[in-house]
């Protein structure tokens, strides 16, 4: 509980479910139900967002620990409890989730025509699961929310997706599920060893070095798939292409962050020796992701696939940042995650705008859109440049911080990571040129309409936040500064006190 004893976090987490109950109680013919479901979902998500702004205001950034902590005993005899709280690392992801959900609902206002009620239900349940994942302070509760995300997302891709939606939904589900069952085993191992699943306690628990090694790999299996890292990234382009626009937005904006959040929250502080020992491996995977997926993105024919690959590249940069273990790298990773959450969500919305009009996201079907859609062209330009890290936008801050962090570790690491940024400019501008510039020769594009007021209402907040983050990043980074500094210091201290992990000792037991 916070000072007032008011369970604010639980309210933010579970209020969407109340919205679900409201939507379920709607009666009437199909049109009434659809319209009421839209409004009920929008209002619920807006109220949730408003409540989460209270979190933002009341949060004390100078305190590196967990705040707004609520704890209800659930199974005390097994060291399990419902415990939630946020610290500087998680609070902004809670806000990201609550901010993107109303935008998603707004963006699918007209395009979703069948089973509107179920669609809105799925998004509200998804919101509960996302917020819960970032708030959970009990490992089993975390796992429940982390896994619970799969059910609504599977249905969103499977029911409202594109032509190959079934294949993509299965691939998404099975990939993610395969990774997270290993996470479950790791959680059970930690739980069995320490007798508690309380995350704040575990953050200060020292596990045996060899055990850390194995648990690191179990965590890696889950978070790498979720992130996704090369070579287990193949589900992401498929899922993005087939998912409805709002599904892609949540997938890129929030779900991918869960993997990186897992590394930051669990792998680095709980397994310091193992994460230090395997940092080179993570760097290698990160660099491969950045360079390889950037090249793959260059060759894409489909806008959504291209942006999906660019997401993987950006997440590679986040991986590099996390495993530098220094303040700049960690801050850069967090900033990059947040920025990518906004920018990639906006890019998918941009693609969605075209998809709503033309029902395709194939690049070759478009050209010269600037003639008919000047506002759209400007917004698309803005987010493309934010994605490649133009100074003054949010993307720049994160990339620069990660580069500084990486330079402290190894020059070549920073250099190779930087190559990805150059390639990023190449594929984004190449995409932009093909879609927006050129001459408008295609007949079916002659009467395409520019953004409607509803669409502008969706994009305006995203533009503002992107600029705000780029121009005055401190108003975001001061939230996590204390937590990140503490994490970096603690990590260094743990390493000093614990012997390093020898790879051989993991095998020879």
């Amino acid at each position: 509980m916070n000072a007032a004893g008011f369970p604010l976090l639980s309210l933010v987490t579970f209020l969407p479910l109340v919205g679900c109950a409201v939507i379920l109680s709607i009666r009437g013919d199909e049109e009434t139900v659809a319209s009421n479901a839209r409004w009920a979902a929008l209002w619920t998500s807006l109220i949730v967002f408003g409540l989460s702004l209270v979190l933002w205001v009341d949060f004390d950034p100078s305190n590196p620990g967990f705040q707004f902590v609520e704890s209800v005993s659930w199974m005390p005899e097994y060291g399990l409890g419902y415990k939630v709280g946020v610290d500087g690392i998680s609070i902004l992801f809670v806000l990201l989730s609550t901010a993107l959900t109303p935008l998603c609902i707004l963006s699918s206002w007209e395009i979703i025509k069948r089973q509107v009620r179920e669609y809105m239900l799925a998004f509200l349940i998804l919101e509960t699961m996302m917020v819960g994942t970032f708030c959970a302070l009990d490992f089993v509760i975390f796992y429940m929310f982390f896994e619970g995300v799969l059910i609504p997302m599977y249905l969103i891709i499977g029911i409202w997706g594109g032509p190959r939606r079934i294949y993509s939904a299965f691939k998404f589900f099975l990939f993610t599920f395969a990774g997270s069952v290993l996470l479950l085993l790791a959680i059970l191992a930690i739980w069995a060893y320490t007798g508690t699943a309380d995350i704040p306690t575990l953050l200060h628990t020292r596990l045996p070095v060899v055990m850390q090694g194995w648990i690191f790999f179990a965590f890696l299996a889950s978070f790498a798939i979720k992130l996704p890292m090369w070579p287990v990234h193949t589900w992401l382009p498929d899922a993005h292409v087939e998912a409805p626009t709002a599904g892609s937005v949540i997938l890129a904006g929030v779900l991918l962050k869960m993997g990186a959040y897992g590394f930051l929250r669990f792998s680095v502080p709980m397994l310091p020796a193992a994460s230090a020992a395997f940092a080179p491996l993570m760097f290698a995977l990160g660099v491969v992701a950045v360079i390889y997926t950037s090249y793959v993105a260059l060759a894409q024919e489909d806008m959504k696939k291209l942006i999906a690959y660019s997401s993987i590249a950006h997440m590679g940069l986040v991986t590099i940042g996390v495993f530098t273990f220094n303040v700049q790298g960690l801050q850069g990773a967090l900033f990059q995650m947040l920025s990518h959450g906004i920018v990639s969500a906006a890019l998918f919305l941009c693609v969605g705008v075209l998809y709503d009009r033309m029902h395709t996201h194939e690049i070759a079907r478009f050209s010269g859109l600037v003639e008919r859609m000047p506002v759209y062209a400007a917004i698309f330009m803005f987010f493309s440049l934010a994605s490649v890290g133009l100074p003054g936008t949010s993307g720049f801050v994160g990339e620069v911080l990660v580069m500084i962090g990486a330079l402290q570790v190894n020059f070549w690491l920073a250099l190779l990571g930087g190559v990805g940024m150059i390639l990023g400019v190449a594929y984004m501008l190449y995409l932009y040129r093909r879609v927006i510039f050129g001459t408008l020769t295609k007949v079916e594009l002659r009467h395409i309409l520019d953004l409607s007021p509803r669409e502008i209402a969706v994009f305006a907040p995203l533009v503002l936040i992107t600029l705000w983050m780029g121009v005055y990043p401190a108003s975001f980074s001061h939230f996590w500064a204390a937590s990140v500094t503490q994490m970096a210091e603690q990590h260094a201290a743990m390493l000093r006190h614990q012997p390093g992990l020898e790879l051989a000792s993991m095998i020879a037991r």
Binding site: W74, M144, L184, L185
Partner: protein
């Protein structure tokens, strides 16, 4: 001699026979009255089970303790639910005969004796009583070829398993000199260890018992019998006897053969691994939902055996929790399957479910909840079953079992979510007939239990803990 410890069993058998007499003598069709009387008898028995004190009776043949109470209540609940879903099905299929509830009552008596057995002979008697009644139930739709075939197949293979079991019992008796669990435990605790003949005997006993829970390699009968038997009988077959037989295995392995754990553990591990893998892989190709559920139950029994292989109090606790969770989601699934009926004809193909989310959203939601729960997705109850089982495996350091277990659950998830896909994504092939109120009631009740189990796991975990403690002394 404290005969009143067996009061629930005695009362239930007497009531069953009274209902039989009533059914025979009644002038008009008495099936509905018999069904209601049978449900009432089970309810009464449940109270008696709760009221019976712990203790040992009939010269150590019969034992009542927290473990037997826990499993008896579960068996009664499963059987009562199965009987409830059978009412409308039997009427629609022309199977509404008064023998049906009576046979179920005898199955229940047999299972309760099994659960309370403290002697290999009691064990065998209980097992045979419940098996014989089940053979008849499997063939209850006697005018159809498939049902008769199912009954016969079940009978022949069941008789073989009984033979194995009896042979094992005789070997154990010959080498250890006792059939009582207490006497066996004492004889086997001797430092010289187990003789080869005794170990062979134990292996035969395990084989005979594992047949009942249809774990690999004694699973061959399961898909055919599940498919052929009337659906409510399949619902019963896949829940209550599994619980009773698993309880029997737990008691036998933990009490008399507990000292031989090092000898049988590897066997249980292998059976468990094989069941998990087969249950996950073989179900993928199924098109008949009842066959799919058969393979699914084989897989679930594999997970349950992980808890036994762990051999710890946590493992046994995990088994008992898993069984509760399993019974409710399984009965719920079968309630949904029984609701699959179009123009009066019962349907069994997975493809018949296409588009159910649009024609009957409530049923589709319940079905989806059961499927996600069986796949082990939190926060549904199936997740907690797996959680406690794998926690025990991890605590016992059985990493191979744990890793294989979680990976097979990923494979299993494929076919569970495929059913969700068929219901939610595929185009509708027409609405089902209006489902009977009883089916809706059972599906809703078990669905709510499965969904909200996470809010109140405490009582179940506590009761399972107490029951597991009894076995390990």
């Amino acid at each position: 001699m404290n005969w009143s410890l067996a009061l629930p069993e005695i009362v239930l058998s007497l009531v069953a026979m009274a209902i039989l007499i009533f059914g025979v003598l009644a002038r008009r069709d008495a099936s509905f009255a018999c069904n209601m009387l049978a449900l009432g008898a089970m309810l009464l028995t449940a109270f008696l089970v709760l009221a019976t004190p712990s203790g040992s009776a009939y010269g150590g043949l019969f034992v009542v303790d927290a473990f037997s109470r826990y499993t008896k209540l579960l068996v009664l609940a499963a059987s009562a639910l199965a009987l409830m879903v059978s009412l409308d099905y039997n009427r629609a299929q022309g199977l509404a005969r008064f023998e049906f509830p009576i046979l179920i009552l005898f199955v229940v008596v047999g299972m309760m004796v099994m659960v309370s057995a403290a002697n290999l002979m009691t064990l065998y008697l209980g097992l045979e009583l419940h098996s014989l009644a089940l053979y008849v139930l499997a063939a209850f739709d006697r005018d159809t070829l498939r049902s008769s075939e199912a009954g016969l197949k079940y009978f022949v293979l069941g008789a073989l398993a009984s033979g194995l079991l009896l042979y094992g019992i005789s070997l154990v008796y010959g080498f250890a000199g006792s059939t009582g669990f207490a006497g066996l435990a004492q004889a086997l605790s001797a430092p010289q260890g187990a003789s080869v003949g005794l170990v062979v005997g134990v292996v035969f006993v395990i084989a005979g018992l594992v047949f009942k829970v249809s774990a690999v390699p004694f699973h061959m009968w399961t898909p055919d019998v599940y498919e052929g038997a009337p659906t409510p009988v399949t619902a019963l077959l896949s829940t209550a006897p599994k619980v009773a037989a698993m309880a029997l295995i737990l008691r036998t392995m933990a009490t008399p053969f507990g000292h031989l754990a090092d000898n049988w553990r590897l066997l249980v591990e292998l059976i468990s691994i094989a069941s998990m893998i087969l249950g996950a892989v073989a179900a993928i190709g199924q098109t008949n939902i009842k066959r799919l559920m058969a393979y699914s139950s084989i897989g679930h029994m594999g997970y349950v055996l992980v808890g036994l292989a762990a051999g710890s109090a946590e493992g046994l606790r995990g088994v008992l929790i898993y069984l509760v969770v399993y019974v409710f989601m399984n009965i719920g699934t079968f309630a949904c399957i029984i609701a699959m009926r179009r123009q009066g004809r019962a349907l069994e193909q997975i493809s018949d479910l296409a588009g159910l989310a649009r024609t009957d959203p409530g049923l589709a939601l319940a079905f989806a909840i059961f499927m996600f729960s069986m796949a082990g997705i939190p926060p549904l109850s199936g997740f907690f079953g797996k959680l406690y089982i794998f926690l025990a495996a991890v605590q016992a350091g059985m990493w191979v079992l744990a890793v294989i277990g979680v990976l097979t659950s990923v494979v299993g998830a494929y076919y569970y979510i495929r059913i969700v896909k068929v219901m939610y994504i595929d185009d509708s092939v027409g609405a089902f007939d209006t489902k009977p109120a009883m089916i809706s009631l059972v599906a809703a009740g078990t669905g709510l239990f499965t969904t909200f189990f996470f809010l109140f796991p405490g009582p179940f975990v506590g009761a399972a803990q107490a029951a597991a403690q009894v076995l390990l002394g």
